[in-house]
Subunit: 291 residues, 2 copies
């Protein structure tokens, strides 16, 4: 259910979740985006490759390796090949571009940066990588703060700033504002480019009725001083955002959002399938065109 | 069909075949020995883990990775875990010991050295790693010479010299004398220990009727100046060998072998199953005890 020509789209992807396990460079968000666009994603679990097996993982466990982060056999090919290419001197951007081409994706995929910027969660039991907090410990620890290690020295990957400046429209997905969108807009130069671009910028609120559609957005927003509401989202992005698409259950927040200088568009934002995803994308694009 | 208590056996294993592919440290001989002793080897192909699948390999190929060296999904767990442990500072010996324990092997397994000593084959089309010559190019090139890179500076792994000196008996398997046994006895100190040990040393000839049981032993022996016969084997090991077990088809070579100071024991040496393997091991052990 294509509503825009794929070749004209650039996806800028968070790499704050990237980490090393089994000596392999794992890039969860790049892989989820690439495999989703390739039609390969396991729709049930929301990550991994459909029909994948877990023979290698089982044997890594037999050999005493960590097993808390599940890696499918097909999935592992991406991590093994990416790690080998990175060690031989490729940039993460070059690997991401090679993979999307190998898997038949025509949308351009850019990591936010070629420099590692791991997201750490500071909890009441200590500081840990986001994936340890989220997957290994099931987001059970009290969150005190979130930090992006090394972000002040990171540079946007080649093409990221140009994509923002030259865009016809920019869409922020209804993703976690702290650990998914946050690292991208925290890379030096990105937020300034968002402020300066002439492209309309539309976000879809990931918070509906004060709760996250999925994942631990609420405690992470609270720990970052962002109110876990659609209004909090608007305030967090207000310096560059033109339009916030919010759910009908949050319609009462529209005046407060608009008081921040952000236009509020109210619609059904909870997507259950391709048709609802396409409808929401159409609303967001129409809102961009109306700016 | 156990004929010796496993806990009393030490296997010293060639690592000249070890190489890096996909950024992974692959140790073909250590894995074949460990998986064979664990009862996990794929008996049909002679390497790899029985029942293994190749999902990851297929996807490595899709992503543009090399596919000439087949790696099963279970198999890959050994390479991934070994590489991660080596990178974190473990020695190859420590990894080998951990793996054999994880897989329930009670025979002690020692790599010949913790230092990489890759076997290179110098062919008429250039110098290449043994696995490139053997697997990628199917041993089709003319062999000019064989060299073990870095062997002069390598040291035996911890326990190797002690195992030789303290052994009750030493058995050289009917393996390729140039690229399987050769690197082990070429590690500085090993050949001297074999000469000095009071243990009887018995080899089984890998050459029967002037041909190798399997693999490219004949051209590799020729290129190394070793006559590809059981007599050539005896001459190659004569400085330390007490007994050479030869096949009945080579019985006429016995007097020439014994003239080198090596006792020749003539028997059926071609093993088709566990019973024949046990019978040959019994002959070799009896020959050792008779020294």
């Amino acid at each position: 259910m294509q509503i825009v020509v794929p070749e004209t789209i650039t996806a800028v992807v968070n790499t704050g979740d990237d980490f090393e396990l089994h000596g392999l460079y794992i890039a969860p968000d790049l892989d989820i985006v690439t495999c989703t666009l390739a039609g390969l994603i396991d729709q049930v679990q929301g990550w991994g490759i459909v029909g994948d097996t877990a023979e290698c993982m089982e044997w890594l466990g037999k050999l005493g390796g960590p097993t808390w982060f599940k890696l499918g056999d097909r999935d592992l090919a991406l991590h093994i090949r990416r790690t080998a290419l990175l060690r031989s001197g490729w940039t993460l951007s070059a690997v991401a571009d090679s993979f999307r081409q190998s898997l038949g994706v025509t949308i351009r995929i850019l990591p936010m940066s070629d420099t590692p910027v791991p997201t750490h969660i500071i909890t009441s039991v200590g500081e840990m990588h986001f994936e340890e907090y989220f997957v290994q410990r099931r987001a059970a620890d009290e969150v005190l703060a979130v930090r992006s290690v090394g972000i002040a020295e990171a540079r946007p990957a080649p093409g990221v700033l140009e994509a923002i400046v030259e865009a016809e429209a920019i869409l922020l997905a209804p993703s976690n504002p702290i650990v998914s969108i946050g690292p991208i807009i925290g890379i030096p130069g990105v937020r300034a480019a968002l402020r300066e671009t002439s492209a309309p910028i539309v976000a879809v609120s990931p918070i509906v009725g004060g709760a996250a559609i999925k994942g631990p957005a609420v405690p992470l927003m609270r720990a970052s001083g962002v109110e876990p509401t659609a209004l909090g989202i608007a305030g967090h992005y207000a310096d560059f955002l033109d339009v916030l698409v919010i759910d009908t259950v949050d319609a009462a927040l529209a005046p407060a959002i608009e008081a921040l200088g952000v236009r509020a568009v109210v619609t059904d934002t909870i997507m259950h399938g391709a048709a609802e995803k396409a409808a929401l994308a159409r609303v967001a694009l129409a809102a961009a065109r109306a700016v």
